[in-house]
């Protein structure tokens, strides 16, 4: 069965990952020695308050070594993170395969509904583990990293999370969190599933009603321009729900693991906005051309 081979592949990858991490640590211990030397030299130069040619040559040599070490460490860390991403994508494929298999299995109840709390925890985890984009020096953040929008011809893949504008039973339109099932190039329409599977049907929507959600977090320390700025209007997922609402950015995150602080439009408050609420980097998406809602 495909599922079994996926399992063994995952096990393989986990072992490889373990190796990589061990290598990373070796690299780090080696470079640490050099870093300590650089620190000592800095201190000596600062106390003596002059730069002698001896110090200059020594420091230059140390910098060169440190540069090489940092590059090597970066490479190994990137390999390890790529490995993790590979494992996760395999797990995701396995989940989708299991879901499809479950559809055709009559013995199980159709569409096992998840308890709300479980769904929320899953969403929170998915937001937290969104990979962080760390570009090499000179790299620019790609589309779908933080606030960078998707390119015009981007097509979301099955399993991607998107914000979808659907019409409710009472005629109201709402942006919901949905997962892409398939895309038809012939009709230019997506088939999406509401993430909250409780008795919701599958929607078929045109591209204009779909906003792909970010696939990477932006690092505020290296790419602050890839974050939404203060006072920018976005569609953000309301905490503990699966719907998107219009909001203004209050504070962007300061560190990679921090959340945005946003003010949701809310007519029940005097000034029209809710107090600041925390929303993970995964959820705010650019209003862009979808401002009509």
């Amino acid at each position: 069965m495909a599922l079994v081979s996926a399992d063994s592949r995952i096990a393989e990858l986990l072992t490889e990952l373990h190796q990589l991490i061990k290598q990373t640590q070796e690299e780090r211990s080696r470079s640490e020695h050099n870093l300590v030397n650089i620190q000592k030299t800095h201190e000596r130069m600062q106390t003596e308050n002059k730069i002698s040619p001896y110090y200059r040559t020594k420091l230059r040599g140390l910098y060169t070594t440190a540069k090489a070490d940092a590059e090597a460490e970066c490479n190994i860390l990137r390999k390890a993170l790529d490995k993790i991403a590979e494992i996760k994508s395999l797990l995701e494929e396995r989940r989708i395969a299991a879901k499809i298999a479950g559809l055709y299995n009559d013995s199980e109840p159709p569409r096992k509904t998840m308890r709300r709390g479980v769904l929320m925890t899953l969403l929170q985890q998915s937001a937290m583990t969104l990979p962080l984009w760390i570009g090499k020096p000179g790299d620019k953040p790609p589309p779908l990293c933080g606030a960078i929008p998707a390119s015009g011809d981007y097509v979301a893949k099955p399993g991607d999370k998107v914000a979808a504008r659907v019409k409710a039973v009472d005629g109201d339109e709402q942006w919901i969190l949905a997962e892409v099932v398939s895309y038809s190039h012939a009709t230019n329409k997506y088939e999406v599933d509401d993430i909250d599977e409780e008795g919701k049907e599958r929607h078929t929507l045109s591209r204009r009603r779909i906003i792909p959600l970010p696939q990477w977090k932006a690092n505020p320390e290296t790419d602050p321009e890839a974050l939404f700025q203060k006072e920018q209007l976005v569609l953000a997922l309301y905490p503990q729900t699966t719907c998107f609402y219009r909001a203004l950015i209050h504070t962007p995150p300061q560190r990679p693991q921090d959340d945005y602080s946003v003010l949701f439009e809310d007519t029940s408050y005097a000034d029209g906005y809710s107090p600041p609420l925390n929303v993970a980097q995964r959820w705010p998406s650019c209003m862009g051309t979808h401002l009509s809602s």
Binding site: H42, N49, A70, E71, C74
Partner: protein, 339 residues
């Protein structure tokens, strides 16, 4: 040995992340033996910790690279390519200016960058600031600028309405005189109403009507104007004598040929008569020649400007400047269109 303060190095803190404290999961994974491996549940937290490590390592790499570059500069290895290239650029620009050809001339930003290459972006800030300040003078003439120039150079079309003068209204002395008379009339009427019995005794003006007012005013004006009509002297003479009388240079004597404008001086009340005899006939001969002689004398003294002035353009700085500007604008427009 250079001073520390001259050193462009920034002594960054190159400490590595202390993974033992900050990344417990990373530490735990390391502690696992070969057999244990990594479990799927640990993947998420491991991912986060690895991301932090990578982020700090890449920042360190960035700092190392910067430090390296600064070191090269410190050692004098870095060749500032801009100065020799700047000489070449200056020469070309001078040639261009003289030739006024379609080739050189106002070159664009692209030209500058071609010469300087990527050095500008990495050069010392002073150089960057200098080129940024020079840039507007060498920038391309865009089509918007061509349109602006054309608009500026277009001769003004509808100036006729600017030249129209509104009609003159009543002179203020007449207006005030009329207002004063009306005031008096009002006061008189009020007083009459109060007393009710003494008609016509409260003021000579209480019974005046409007047309009487106008007639009164005209009469006073006529009295003012009369001396002017009667005086045979030219305008220049009149002005001169007026000034002299004002300064008390000429003593006011009855038989002196002082013209009647002294009547004007004594006040606005038209009915008053000056101490000088206004009606004495003037018998100064050759008034016209006297006028012209005085004029010549004044011009010779430099007190009066002669009326035949030279061409205005050569004396008028502002007109000269605006003519120069116009020529410059035409040149710019021609060059802009020529591109």
């Amino acid at each position: 040995m250079s001073e520390l303060k001259d050193c462009p190095l920034q002594f960054h803190d190159f400490k590595a992340v202390d993974h033992l404290k900050v990344h417990p999961h990373y530490k735990a994974v390391l502690a696992h033996s070969e057999d244990d491996g990594i479990s799927i549940e640990e993947l998420d937290t491991l991912q986060l910790e690895l991301e932090t490590l990578l982020s700090s390592a890449s920042q360190r790499l960035q700092q190392d690279k910067k430090g390296d570059r600064r070191f090269l500069k410190l050692g004098g290895d870095h060749e500032l390519g801009a100065p020799p290239k700047y000489e070449k650029l200056k020469k070309q620009k001078l040639e261009g200016k003289v030739g006024h050809g379609p080739g050189p001339g106002p070159r664009g930003r692209g030209f500058l960058l071609d010469f300087l290459g990527p050095t500008t972006c990495h050069g010392p800030p002073r150089m960057i600031r200098f080129w940024a300040s020079v840039e507007p003078y060498c920038a391309d003439i865009t089509s918007e600028k061509v349109c602006t120039l054309e608009k500026l150079l277009k001769p003004p079309e509808d100036e006729a309405e600017h030249y129209k003068l509104p009609p003159l209204r009543k002179h203020y002395s007449q207006r005030w005189a009329q207002q004063d008379l009306l005031e008096e009339q009002k006061d008189g009427a009020w007083a009459a109403a109060v007393t009710d019995k003494k008609k016509g005794l409260m003021g000579p003006l209480s019974q005046l009507h409007t047309k009487d007012l106008d007639a009164l005013l005209k009469k006073s004006e006529a009295q003012h104007e009369q001396p002017e009509d009667g005086c045979p002297f030219g305008a220049l003479m009149q002005r001169l004598l007026q000034a002299l009388v004002k300064e008390n240079i000429t003593s006011p004597m009855e038989d002196s040929p002082i013209p009647d404008m002294s009547g004007k001086e004594s006040g606005a009340d038209g009915a008053s008569t000056s101490p000088h005899n206004q009606n004495k006939p003037f018998s100064v001969p050759h008034t016209k020649s006297l006028e012209s002689r005085i004029k010549e004398e004044l011009i010779a003294q430099g007190l009066l400007e002669s009326e035949d002035r030279p061409a205005e353009d050569s004396e008028d700085d502002i007109l000269a400047l605006s003519a120069h500007n116009r020529v410059e604008k035409h040149d710019m427009l021609r060059l802009g269109k020529g591109r």
